[in-house]
């Protein structure tokens, strides 16, 4: 294992985060705070409790997930797409590093960033609503798993994309809708039964449900299923990354 290379890539990516602090940390925190004001305070005051918790409190896990998902994808996809775009990827490819080391460096940095972001958003939320976390370790487990899984997914998008438009396409057209429809703002049980079945096809439902359970012990689906689906998606992403490096897809041709 070339640990120094992992460290170099990781620190390089983290340095990029600090350089773009406004864009990478401040702006998601601001937009999440806006959600709290609009949904939590303004609209939420008209809504009675959802599954036994106040609406403002109910949406916290969903909002954290919303940011962690989109930011993991954005960070990781940009992190690998940009060297491809400006050409500095030559150095990574010509270095004595294995693809596992490259992935750990890039995905690790992107995941770290979104975990930090998730924690900051939770802290921000605590300023607006009373927050109690029933299962802090499970909360962290879901947070880390989701951050890593979606950073891997972002890494794949970054390698697949051959233009800035494609880089934005999947996050905008697929991930954001899935997150909004995945129960960030409502319990899946609030939907009519037909829609409920459709919603269960949305993988994000399982992430948010599991994460919310770690906070309030309320869940749309069983926790085991949530965990299983998250791990399953992680496995799919890992296989894709393995295939990319094995074939040199869009990297070495």
């Amino acid at each position: 294992m070339n640990y120094r290379a992992i460290r170099a890539i990781y620190l390089f990516e983290m340095a990029r985060t600090w350089r773009t602090l406004l864009q990478s940390i401040v702006s998601p925190v601001v937009s999440t705070s806006l959600y709290f004001v609009v949904f939590g305070a303004a609209i939420g005051s008209r809504i009675t409790e959802v599954e036994g918790v106040s609406y403002g409190t109910f949406i916290v896990p969903g909002l954290v997930m919303l940011s962690v998902l989109t930011q993991s994808i954005a960070n990781a996809s940009f992190g690998i797409y940009f060297p491809k775009f400006v050409g500095t990827i030559y150095e990574i490819l010509s270095a004595p590093v294995s693809y596992i080391e490259i992935v750990i460096g890039y995905v690790g940095a992107a995941a770290t960033k979104s975990i930090i972001l998730g924690l900051i958003i939770m802290a921000t939320a605590a300023l607006f609503v009373p927050l109690h976390i029933h299962h802090p370790w499970w909360m962290l487990t879901f947070l880390v798993l989701t951050a890593v899984t979606f950073s891997l997914f972002g890494f794949i998008i970054g390698i697949w994309a051959d233009g800035f438009e494609k880089l934005q396409m999947i996050p905008m057209l697929i991930v954001t809708p899935l997150t909004f429809l995945g129960g960030s703002f409502y319990s899946v049980n609030m939907l009519p039964s037909g829609w409920r079945t459709v919603t269960l096809l949305n993988p994000v439902v399982y992430l948010i449900s599991g994460f919310r359970w770690s906070f309030y012990e309320i869940a749309d689906v069983s926790v085991a299923l949530s965990l299983g689906m998250t791990l399953g998606f992680l496995a799919i992403c890992m296989v894709l990354v393995w295939w990319i490096f094995r074939t040199g897809y869009r990297l070495k041709n």
Partner: protein, 310 residues
């Protein structure tokens, strides 16, 4: 002296791109330890593809490459550790400082921190006073040197320079040649590609010519110059002539269209150049000369004649 094994050995290397374009066709090439090898070839000949494969940036289609005895696929870590690569294009991270980007390269190649070495590299490349500058603020020539510094950061045994002096002014080019010679003196093997024949002529120990994906010649520079080097004697005539007198036919002279210049080609390696007899035969034929000059064919002429050959 015992013949050392080549530091790079390329055998039967072929590369076919997804589009079906055959960029390399059965390349065989050995690079000797410690030499400066210049790879010449027109645009699209396959120079960059060859380098990219050796360095791990592109996959090979067929054949085998070893670097320091290590197969570039099965033992890529050992192979790549030996190599520093300076690509043709100026690929740099604009917002990093010179120091950070060079240190990053060292880490990427798995070497422990060594600020003293990086300081030396930056000083050798006259970049020391720019170490805290962001790369975006540097000139093109400086960026080129930053890329060389990155390649040297991990103390490679082999340095690839793909068109190192493209777009670099004459003075800087000379400076870069000094750097390359210094590296060779410290034991680094250097492979450079260039469009500037003058550069190859000035720097290289051996020269390879690649065209249309095939190596068409590999030769010691001196041998190549001697083997193919011809001199041209140009004779300026006092009076124009309409035709070359038959008595001079054995010299295979060429007459210019205005009838005032005669050109005679001769081999530098020949012991008898034939100049003295030519001059006396000219006098006998009644042709008087007002002036004469000689030129030696450069590597460029040799190169052009090789690449043009069918």
């Amino acid at each position: 002296m015992l013949a050392q094994p080549p530091i790079i050995s390329v055998s039967n290397l072929s590369k076919t791109y997804g589009s079906g374009f055959k960029a390399l066709k059965g390349i065989n090439l050995d690079i000797k330890r410690g030499e400066i090898f210049a790879l010449l070839g027109p645009n699209g000949a396959g120079k960059t593809t060859l380098i990219s494969i050796i360095c791990g940036i592109a996959n090979l289609s067929e054949g085998r490459v070893t670097v320091g005895g290590h197969d570039i696929n099965s033992d890529y870590r050992a192979a790549r550790s030996l190599i520093g690569l300076v690509p043709q294009e100026l690929h740099t991270d604009s917002f990093e400082t010179v120091w950070a980007t060079v240190s990053f390269s060292r880490g990427l190649f798995g070497k422990p921190k060594n600020p003293a070495h990086i300081e030396k590299v930056l000083k050798d490349l006259s970049l020391w006073d720019k170490k805290d500058s962001k790369i975006i603020t540097l000139s093109g020539g400086m960026k080129r040197r930053v890329m060389i510094a990155k390649a040297l950061s991990h103390e490679p045994q082999i340095l690839f320079l793909d068109e190192p002096t493209a777009g670099v002014d004459v003075e800087l080019r000379k400076g870069m040649w000094d750097v390359v010679r210094g590296l060779q003196a410290s034991g680094v093997t250097i492979i450079l590609t260039t469009h500037y024949i003058q550069e190859a002529e000035e720097m290289a120990d051996r020269i390879g010519v690649i065209n249309k994906g095939e190596i068409i010649l590999v030769e010691d520079k001196a041998g190549l110059m001697q083997k193919l080097g011809k001199k041209h004697l140009t004779l300026h005539l006092q009076q124009k002539i309409d035709a070359i007198p038959p008595a001079l036919a054995p010299y295979k002279l060429q007459l210019s269209s205005d009838g005032r210049l005669l050109t005679y080609d001769y081999d530098t390696k020949g012991e008898r150049t034939g100049i003295t007899s030519l001059l006396s035969d000219l006098r006998n034929a009644g042709i008087h000369i007002s002036d004469l000059d000689t030129t030696q064919s450069s590597l460029e002429d040799i190169f052009v004649s090789l690449v043009r050959a069918p």
